[in-house]
Every structure is written in C-alpha cells, then in structure tokens.
C-alpha cells in the first residue's frame, strides 16, 4: 500500500550545489521533512551534471519521510546553453536575442521528451519552439514564415 502523501513540492535547483537556504529550507521545512537529508541526496544524485539546473519533484509523506525524482533541465535553460546567451529578451515581441538551428531544437526536444506531454519528437520540437518564441530566440521556420 502506498504511503499517504502530505505534499508534492517542485523546485529548480543547481545540480550538485543545493543548500538548506531558501527555497529548499522553507519549502521542505514547513512540511517537516529533513532538509539536510534532502540536500545531501539531491547533490549526490546530480553531481555529474554540475552547471545545469535540475528540477526536482519531492514527495513528502505523512511520516515526514520523502522521495524525489529528477527532471530534465527547463527548456529555457537548454536553449540559453545551446546558443550561449545569459537571458531571454525582456520584450520578446520586439527584441531578438539570438538564433537557434533546427538541429539544436531537435536535440533539446529529445532531451526533454520524457518530461513533455508529447507523442513524438516533432510535437516536442513545437513545444521547444514555443519557449524560443517567448524568450525572443529566433528559429528557422519562424524566419522563413
């Protein structure tokens, strides 16, 4: 029988470098979960991906024990890395911050597939393009059309 869940908490944390500081401390502590225990396990499981943001979904049970699953980095993070920019555009409609190739979009879509609600890579690519659009990053079909 599955244990009763008290809360499911989603956070975006730096791989291998989470600390008990906010948001981890208050988000988990309010539910009585052992903050240091989580930090240790998260850092160990993400240590090989240092430099990336690895989202995590933590289930805190009624007895305050917890488990968590790691997700793929956010699409915006992967896009920024792929084209080497710091931030998206503050006014995405007018200002373009960079260009991305279809190969890069496909690669990101493949990385994100398991977390996305997409049936095939093509559908996942459309989702990644949506994120590009909201960040002011141009992609091939957009420039053609």
């Amino acid at each position: 029988m599955a244990k009763k869940i008290r809360a499911v908490i989603k956070l975006q944390l730096p791989a291998g470098q989470a600390t008990p500081a906010p948001p981890v401390g208050p988000a988990l502590g309010q539910h009585g979960a052992n903050i240091m225990g989580f930090v240790k396990e998260y850092n160990e499981r993400t240590s090989s991906q240092a430099g990336a943001i690895i989202p995590v979904e933590i289930s805190v049970f009624e007895d305050r024990s917890f488990t968590f699953i790691l997700k793929t980095p956010p699409a915006s993070d992967l896009i920024r890395k792929a084209i080497g920019i710091e931030k998206g555009s503050p006014t995405q409609k007018r200002e373009k911050v960079g260009m991305i190739t279809s190969d890069q979009i496909r690669q990101i879509a493949e990385t994100k597939m398991k977390d996305l609600n997409a049936n095939d890579v093509e559908a996942a690519m459309r989702m990644v393009e949506g994120t590009c659009r909201s960040m002011g990053v141009q992609f091939p079909e957009q420039t053609n059309g």
Binding site: M1, A2, I5, A7, V8, I9, K10, L11, Q12, G16, T19, P20, A21, P22, P23, V24, G25, P26, A27, L28, G29, Q30, H31, G32, A33, N34, I35, M36, G37, K40, N43, E44, R45, S47, E57, S59, D63, R64, S76
Partner: protein
C-alpha cells in the same frame, strides 16, 4: 556592501493559488522576481491502478516565491499580478497575503519526527531534547544536529556507525573528515577511540559539533577544527582510522590526502555515494595504496571499507 547572507534568518513568502496545469507558467514569472527561489506545491491524487500518487493537473496548485526581508514584498507581488494579468491562464489566480517566515519556523519543524534510533548492535542515537534511560551494553549518542549533517537517520550515517562498531576502534586515533554534527566522532569515542580529530569546512557544523561533544561529555577526546584535510593536518599527524562520510566527489578528490594520513594497516570508512560511483572510487582508493575490503549497501547508498597496505 557585503554579500547577502545565504541563510537569512527571515524572508517573505509571496504565494498564489493557480490551476495545476498553469503552475509552471506562473512559477516562471515568480522566478524572475523572487531572488530567494520558488517552490510549487503540486496537488496529487491517489491512482488505484498503479497504487501511486499522481500529479493532478485539475486541482489547484500553490506557487510560492521567497524574497529577502529587505525587498518590498508588496511591490513585488503587485508587479507579478500585473505581469500575469495577460497570461493565458485556465483559472483566475487567487493571491494570498505575503507572510514573513523566520528560520525557526521551518528549520526545526522536522525535529518533531526525529526519535530514538537503534543502529547496529548497541548504538542508540537520542535527540538531545528526549529523555533516555541507558541500558546495559548500549552506547548512547545524544545529538542535536541543528543545521549540520548527521542525525543517524540517513542510511550513509547509519552504515558508517555500523562499520565503526564492527571494526571496534578501541585505543585508535581517528580522523573524522566532514564531521557535521559530530555523530561519528562521538560514537567512536564511546566505542573506545583514544583521540579524534574532527574536521569540517562549514563553521556552523563545527559549532554544532562542539555543542554535541560537550553534551556527551567527550569534549576532551575530540579535537575540532574548521577547514580541509590539507590545511588542518600536520604532515606528521597520522591515524589508525579515517572516517569520510561526505560525497562521492569529495572522497574521490580527497583519497590521496586520506591515504597519506593513515598509518600502515590503518582503515578507511568512506560513505555518502551511490552505486554508480563504487567502481571509480575503488579504483582511486586502490591507486592510493589502500585495499578495498568490503562494500556495504543500504538501499541506494554504498559505503567502502578499506585498509592501507602495510
């Protein structure tokens, strides 16, 4: 200007209730505005078929953003409301009043669920706020971990305690690298160790360890120093036993230093890593003149017991 304190003693929480499927979009806006981070409390429902809890996109989720006490939370919340006004959301947002959180509100909440634990044959870990009557043959370690690592609840610490008990450190000199709350050092002394040098790079851990060693009446046998093994051990200082319950990366990096402070025939108990790192650690440890005698398992965690070649 000094750098902001990474552990401020208070902060403000801005939170909003949103449809589960909109939570990520709302959280993205929060991430731009809330410098201390963002958390989503997602709704879940029990799925009878798989007997697990699944995220429920139809129920409301809570998005929480944390801002430093010096920031104007009301202004940030107003800016967020404005930014999200035009967002294509499934359901209107329900804003909560920003509230001030103090570190004590969340830091100690888990203590209510930290009870007496028996580890190995006779080790008993007792939270310092609980009364406990010692029984014959027991080694009782009283711990208040504060914000330091080491409650004994974690499998890696429990495995190190069991290994320590099994090895029997009677009369040994011990190095505890990354001592955290001091739990392993204190247990080592109770199990007969003559002297322990306990190191941690986190000054907060050393403070916590000092309190715990004093509470257990073993302050004299345990020497605490803030810093790394390279900085804080003299070249002639050698030990019968080294404890390194840290992380795979740290053990891998520190293996040469650990090997150099062990006496010939001295032992190493290293933990804090998962199965995937065992092979490379075994290789590193053996390349540095140690022989891996056993790898102990507890769930996903592993602990290596090794001995320096004589």
């Amino acid at each position: 200007m000094s750098a902001p304190d990474p552990r401020p003693d208070s902060l403000t929480e801005i939170s909003v209730e949103t449809a589960g499927i909109d939570a990520e979009l709302v959280a993205d806006a929060f991430r731009q505005a809330c410098s201390q981070g963002v958390a989503i409390e997602a709704p879940s429902r029990f799925d009878r078929e798989t007997e697990t809890y699944l995220l429920d996109g139809n129920a409301p989720a809570l998005v929480k953003g944390y801002v430093p006490p010096a920031d104007d939370a009301t202004r940030i919340a107003d800016a967020l409301k404005l930014a999200l006004q035009a967002a294509p959301l499934d359901r209107p947002l329900v804003w909560k009043r920003p509230r001030r959180l103090h570190e004590t509100d969340w830091r100690d909440a888990w203590k209510k669920h930290f009870g007496v634990q028996r580890i190995g044959h006779g080790i008993v870990i007792v939270p310092s706020w609980i009364e406990y009557q010692l029984r014959e043959g027991e080694v009782v370690v009283r711990i208040d971990p504060g914000m330091a690592f080491g409650t004994g609840q974690h499998p890696t610490t429990a495995m190190c305690l069991r290994a320590l008990e099994e090895i029997d450190p009677s009369g040994a000199t011990v190095l505890d690298l990354g001592c955290g709350s001091g739990i392993l050092s204190i247990a080592a002394v109770f199990l007969g160790a003559r002297h322990v040098l306990a190191l941690d790079t986190d000054p907060q851990a050393i403070n916590v360890a000092a309190q715990n060693t004093a509470d257990n009446g073993v302050g004299e046998a345990i020497e605490l120093r803030t810093g790394t093994i390279e900085e804080k051990t003299a070249p002639e200082e050698t030990f019968d036993l080294a404890l390194a319950n840290i992380s795979g990366l740290a053990v891998e990096r520190l293996a040469p230093a650990l090997a150099s402070v062990l006496k010939p025939g001295g032992r190493l108990i290293a933990g804090g890593f998962l199965e995937d790192r065992v092979d490379s650690l075994r290789h590193t440890v053996e390349a540095n003149g140690l022989r891996v005698e056993r790898v102990v398992e507890d769930g996903i965690w592993r602990t290596i017991l090794a001995r320096r070649n004589s």
